[in-house]
């Protein structure tokens, strides 16, 4: 049973069917087909796209909620301010470090765990269930758990464990804030990567693996030349989806370090939140939002090409 890609045969049959039906599509039929799509499409456009257009509008104005009288058109000056804002550059860099750090470490750990779980052993289901649990814990609870119960300098369990090896207690969230955030994030996202890679491992054609072992290939050789190429699609997909989710990380930063000390561990979502809801500087926050979206579009269009290849969306 193929469990991974859309079966090629089925795909081509479907394509043929679609082509045949496309020729028969008349105007009325076209609208009948669009009918079921329109409510979802219109709803999504209104709720997600209109606010963004308003964001662009705000970004060209100087507006502060604390001074309602002053609402002026200021052109691109908000963008000029961002260009010279060193905090913006720092938080952008933090975003990159946190996102890539989390996704890459979680992926390496996820691959290791998936390989370990892909062998038959007693109690495998229980071990798997234990391993996916961190992903299911509410992120707000995760943040509480790590910042207080695990990493607290006086009674945190992590420092106590380090103490057993003679290492002095460290106030992680203020001394190494990004490391502390990464610990919580990697803990949460490793199960996600593990699940995707494990699905990939289990979709491996068994006859190919048997043939390799008959031909005398050792486990390492088999892994390198058969398993890893097969897993590539799954790893790419995991990294891509991981980036989409992790780049928006807010809960852990808000609760574990509040972006501090200073702005040392703030990422872009947190910094924009600060400007908008603590500084009430709508124009600046909106302009930063626009910059983030432009950056996202650049990264995402490359990523989307990849996801479409994975899904084999063809027309």
């Amino acid at each position: 049973m193929s469990t991974s890609t859309i079966d090629r045969l089925e795909g081509s049959r479907r394509a043929a069917r679609r082509e045949a039906s496309a020729r028969a599509v008349s105007r009325a039929e076209g609208w009948r087909r669009r009918g079921p799509l329109l409510p979802a499409l219109i709803f999504t456009v209104i709720v997600t796209q209109l606010p963004f257009l308003v964001t662009i509008w705000y970004s060209l104005r100087s507006q502060n909620l604390l001074r309602p009288g002053e609402d002026l058109f200021v052109g691109l000056s908000n963008y000029v301010d961002i260009a010279v804002d060193s905090t913006f550059r720092q938080t952008a860099w933090n975003s990159v470090v946190i996102t890539l750090g989390c996704v890459l470490v979680a992926m390496v750990l996820g691959i290791v765990l998936a390989l370990l779980l892909d062998r038959p052993f007693f109690g495998r289901g229980v071990a798997r269930t234990m391993l996916i649990t961190p992903f299911l814990v509410m992120p707000v609870a995760t943040s509480v758990l790590w910042s207080v119960a695990m990493l607290n300098p006086t009674y945190g369990l992590f420092n106590w464990a380090l103490g057993l090896f003679g290492i002095e207690a460290v106030d992680w969230t203020s001394t190494y804030p990004i490391v502390a955030i990464l610990m919580a994030l990697v803990w949460q996202w490793t199960p996600f990567m593990m699940l995707l890679v494990l699905a990939g491992l289990q979709a491996q054609p068994k006859d190919v693996l048997e043939a390799a072992s008959v031909d005398g290939a050792g486990p390492w050789r088999t892994f390198q030349s058969i398993t890893l190429p097969h897993l590539r699609r799954y790893i790419e997909l995991g990294v891509l989806l991981g980036i989409i989710y992790v780049v928006n990380t807010f809960d852990q930063i808000y609760l574990m370090t509040a972006g501090g000390p200073g702005t040392a561990s703030a990422n872009l979502p947190f910094y924009i939140y600060q400007r908008a809801f603590l500084g009430f500087d709508i124009g600046q926050a909106a302009a930063m939002g626009v910059v983030v979206v432009i950056a996202t579009i650049i990264v995402a269009s490359a990523a989307l090409r990849l996801i479409f290849r994975s899904f084999e969306v063809k027309e």
Binding site: R119, A149, Y155, L255
Partner: protein
């Protein structure tokens, strides 16, 4: 090397790998276990140095959380999660149908559009949403969260449901159309029953994301519409030293999703990959 030594070596490596797997599984699970243990402690045991490993479990913290007015928060979370999930399915299933079984033109453009809204950072739209919600007087209103959570999960649902519809064999649909069944009848009596497990998987994913959502809830609610994550945060900031009670609240808040995820592990993979991995 004789067969006997080879078999022996394979068994010992196998044993070592199994041990390693269990150590890692316990390591990853341990913080959750510690949170659960702490929830059953008295406060002085929860914040002790060295940590308290053995204690008489108490339900005091759970009682304090439940009696401390958490019902309103749970009710809000239930409405936001439940209603948004139903709306997502009502909007998403027909849309997925129009992108798979009787496709519109430019299917990939529409799919691209839906997925691209997931990549739009929420911070980029929070400002206008906040200002407009203020003008419409729907700040601190649970229905505002319902609408936003629906929009947040709809793209995932469209992608997932499409992947399930694509698995329906063409013959079944041809038979239905030969029988002269219209769209609604085909959907109701043929398609929906066939993709019921897919609908369950989609609903599960929507429930997880909506139940855990914090950013919108933090910024758009105050007292009346606040949800469970907001309750945890306010417990944390107002009663920062009550670690045991905090853990009890965090455990109760996480439990629904943990249990759902444990039961539906298989659907989880498919949902998280938006239908790409079966």
């Amino acid at each position: 090397m004789s067969d006997v030594t080879r078999a022996y070596r394979r068994r010992t490596t196998g044993g070592a790998l199994t041990t390693l797997t269990w150590l890692l599984a316990i390591g990853f699970f341990f913080p959750v276990l510690w949170m659960a243990m702490t929830a059953f402690k008295q406060e002085n045991q929860a914040a002790s140095d060295p940590p308290t490993w053995f204690f008489t479990p108490t339900l005091d913290q759970f009682r304090a959380v439940i009696e401390g007015g958490s019902a309103a928060y749970v009710g809000n979370s239930a409405i936001a999660t439940g209603v948004s999930t139903v709306l997502v399915l009502l909007l998403g299933i027909p849309a997925a149908y129009a992108l798979s079984i009787r496709p519109v033109e430019k299917v990939s453009d529409v799919l691209f559009f839906f997925i691209s809204t997931k990549m739009l950072p929420v911070v980029a739209v929070i400002v206008p949403i906040y200002v407009v919600a203020g003008q419409l007087r729907v700040l601190d209103n649970i229905w505002t969260l319902v609408v936003l959570y629906t929009a947040m999960n709809l793209p995932i649902a469209v992608w997932m449901m499409r992947s399930f519809f694509l698995e329906v064999p063409g013959e079944v649909l041809e038979a239905a159309s030969v029988d002269g069944a219209g769209l609604m009848r085909t959907l109701r009596s043929v398609l929906i029953p066939m993709v019921a497990p897919g609908i369950a998987a989609t609903a599960l994913i929507c429930v997880i994301f909506a139940w855990n959502e914090f950013f919108f809830a933090l910024n758009l609610t105050a007292s009346r519409a606040a949800t469970v994550p907001v309750l945890i945060v306010s417990t944390m900031t107002s009663e920062g030293l009550f670690l045991a009670r905090l853990c009890a609240a965090a455990l109760l808040a996480s439990l629904p999703v943990i249990l759902a995820g444990w039961i539906a592990q298989k659907q989880l993979v498919r949902g998280l990959s938006m239908g790409a991995i079966k």
